[in-house]
Symmetry: C2
Subunit: 255 residues, 2 copies
Amino acid sequence: MKEKAKILIANDDGFQAKGLQKLTDLMRQIGDVMVVSTEQPMSAKSHSMTIREPLRVNLLERDTDYVKYVCNGSPVDCVKIGYQYFMKEKPDIVVSGINHGSNASTNVVYSGTMAAVIEACMDGIPAVGFSLDCYDPDACFDHLDNYIIGFTKKVLDEGLPDGVCLNVNFPAFSEEGIKGIKTCRQAKARWSEKYERRVDPFGRDYFWLTGEFIEQDSEENTDVKALNNNYVSVVPIQYDWTAYNVLDKFKTWEI
Amino acid sequence: MKEKAKILIANDDGFQAKGLQKLTDLMRQIGDVMVVSTEQPMSAKSHSMTIREPLRVNLLERDTDYVKYVCNGSPVDCVKIGYQYFMKEKPDIVVSGINHGSNASTNVVYSGTMAAVIEACMDGIPAVGFSLDCYDPDACFDHLDNYIIGFTKKVLDEGLPDGVCLNVNFPAFSEEGIKGIKTCRQAKARWSEKYERRVDPFGRDYFWLTGEFIEQDSEENTDVKALNNNYVSVVPIQYDWTAYNVLDKFKTWEI
């Protein structure tokens, strides 16, 4: 690890989120930190990018080893403009979060926190997303300090395999405490959703999405199981989405 | 294949896109069609969902075998509300596109067209995304008719493996004609981007993203190579992003 690591932080819960503040405090113990945060909460914005509207970035705070910007775009926009325009070079690591809410299982597909991580990974930057299995805006993050510093230092020291980033999820604080770390696969699960139809004061319909997370996986080696059993879950994530195990099946198709 | 397939169409280029109209015309030759289109062009909106603002949906056209809605949300919102609220049951297939522009390689990560497909796949619905390697709003799609009908009928007949959907990309029209179909893997590539800084009439900075697609893959069996050689590329895509080949590496990590 270099003397002073160059660390870029992104998130999707907005610049005032408690999880972002915690991650910033921890990273400042390790290196020089640039935060580029979303202006608004951007949960479920996935890998969206801003290409039809101009991006705006404002400086919020600056110190000798630290600078914090807020950007009107998505988490992916924040990462891109963070190192490509403001940092002028690639950081040693991108960390994202700490998200208020789990990004285990298929939540990774919808997550802005993890999209920021995947974006960095696509450009060859080691990257880790941290999420807490608790949606409370005032959630306790204090039981994560050693884990988050540990993961970050480890990735700075050893790097990550080409095309791979990490999705790290933590159990919510409990008296029982965290039992340990499990490297797992992404659990099979889905959101069972309904649309609630309402009528606005002008007589026009509108819809709200409501949903419930349904686990569909009975095996033990998944991130959801790890979290439910009070372990930290670590899933290595790749952005090559090719389903290699069925490639040959389609080669025989005649269209 | 059933007598009359139930087909849901989504897209990310807006309800007036030529590619959407072509896909609708083709699907009406095969089955009963519901289109739920985005109101605005939504390229690069990836798997984003609307959860903080209400969704609005308007009926645009209706016939005995056909209905077209327009929705103010993302392509993923369109698919979800399409079958969960308006169709009231799962369609036999979700098709998305025809996108104006390639979704080969890592473009799949940013693509709204493919996010609609992946969303359907996550809920167990066979789904295919169709994209043309040409961004022209007035692009010619007429060389694709037999392929698109062929792929759709094949998927309706045979289904798709669990957790897998298809990313089908077509070469732009050329006198030479399409040479055939290749089943391939997602090419390694990235966007090399810059932010152009401008100053608005009020003296405030804003940024536009500009970029260039850089292929980083020298092998032959990729979707980009197939397209460049005038073949249709077919990549089976999975939403389990676990990097299984490096799972064991992280099990030895001590944090």
